[in-house]
């Protein structure tokens, strides 16, 4: 089945202030379409920073043939909403979007999208990195890799804690 963009209906589910968007979904996403939607109808945006995480075919010197992403329904959305809220308090951003996929993924598939819009690039870069650093250490997702030697849970990396600790 080819990847299809979500309908506009689920994109505009109103969050607390009507602007922050957080989604956890099994389907793929289209970064261009998501960015276009964030930009629609406003000319105060001067900078857009985005990050896309994808599935690699190798990890810790082993071939990876697939990935299953598990999460904690309810807490996951709350954790992402809290992270975006904290990013908004720390940085002068205009808008933020986080989309994270769960379920079975293959090498090359997209996993996560973060988009930040702001007036200036420094803020957009910083906020985008902040959201990813917090997501990697505070959002309840877990990866299980499929390898020729069998399935294995991915271990958390100390470098992710270090990255989150600098904020």
């Amino acid at each position: 089945m080819s990847a299809t963009a979500p309908s506009s209906g689920d994109l505009h589910a109103p969050e607390r202030d009507g602007r922050d968007h957080v989604r956890v979904q099994t389907g793929d996403f289209d970064a261009g379409l998501e960015i276009a939607r964030l930009r629609a109808g406003r000319a105060d945006i001067g900078a857009i920073a985005s990050f896309i995480g994808t599935v690699r075919d190798v990890n810790d010197a082993a071939a990876v043939t697939g990935l299953t992403l598990e999460h904690y329904p309810g807490m996951t959305e709350q954790a992402l909403t809290d992270i975006v809220g904290e990013a908004r308090r720390r940085f002068a951003i205009l808008d933020a979007l986080v989309v994270h996929r769960v379920g079975a993924l293959r090498p090359g598939d997209q996993i996560v999208l973060v988009v930040i819009t702001s007036a200036h690039r420094g803020t957009a870069f910083d906020a985008c990195e902040y959201v990813m650093d917090m997501l990697k250490t505070r959002a309840p997702f877990w990866k299980k890799e499929r390898t020729p030697q069998g399935d294995r849970w991915v271990e958390a990396r100390a470098s992710d804690d270090a990255a989150a600790g600098r904020w």
Binding site: Y72, H100, V112, L135, P140, W153, E155
Partner: protein
């Protein structure tokens, strides 16, 4: 004779995720603890460790385990109350 303090039965909804869900062979359960004082996450960990086997080894001192109380990240000294949902899971690996 009057006891020094009266223990009441408090009930927690436990949720296990990812590797710990597999190690414990279950996704969720209800745990009751007789308590004569306010409890923290630590009391639940102690109760589970007492089961031995995977419970004792996975929750041993020094193992990297994370907790959430009512779906918010919480440390071992976080208070817990009757009816709370306590999730126990490995460090997260999303993104």
């Amino acid at each position: 004779m009057q006891p020094a303090s009266v223990a009441t039965l408090v009930s927690f909804r436990l949720v296990y995720l990812a590797r710990l869900r597999e190690a414990f062979g279950r996704e969720r359960e209800t745990l009751e603890i007789a308590a004569d004082r306010p409890l923290t996450v630590d009391a639940i960990i102690d109760a589970l460790r007492g089961r031995g086997g995977a419970w004792a080894s996975e929750l041993a001192q020094g193992r990297a385990v994370r907790f959430a109380v009512n779906q918010r990240l919480a440390g071992r000294t976080h208070p817990v109350a009757d009816g709370d949902e306590i999730a126990i899971f490995p460090p997260v690996t999303g993104g």
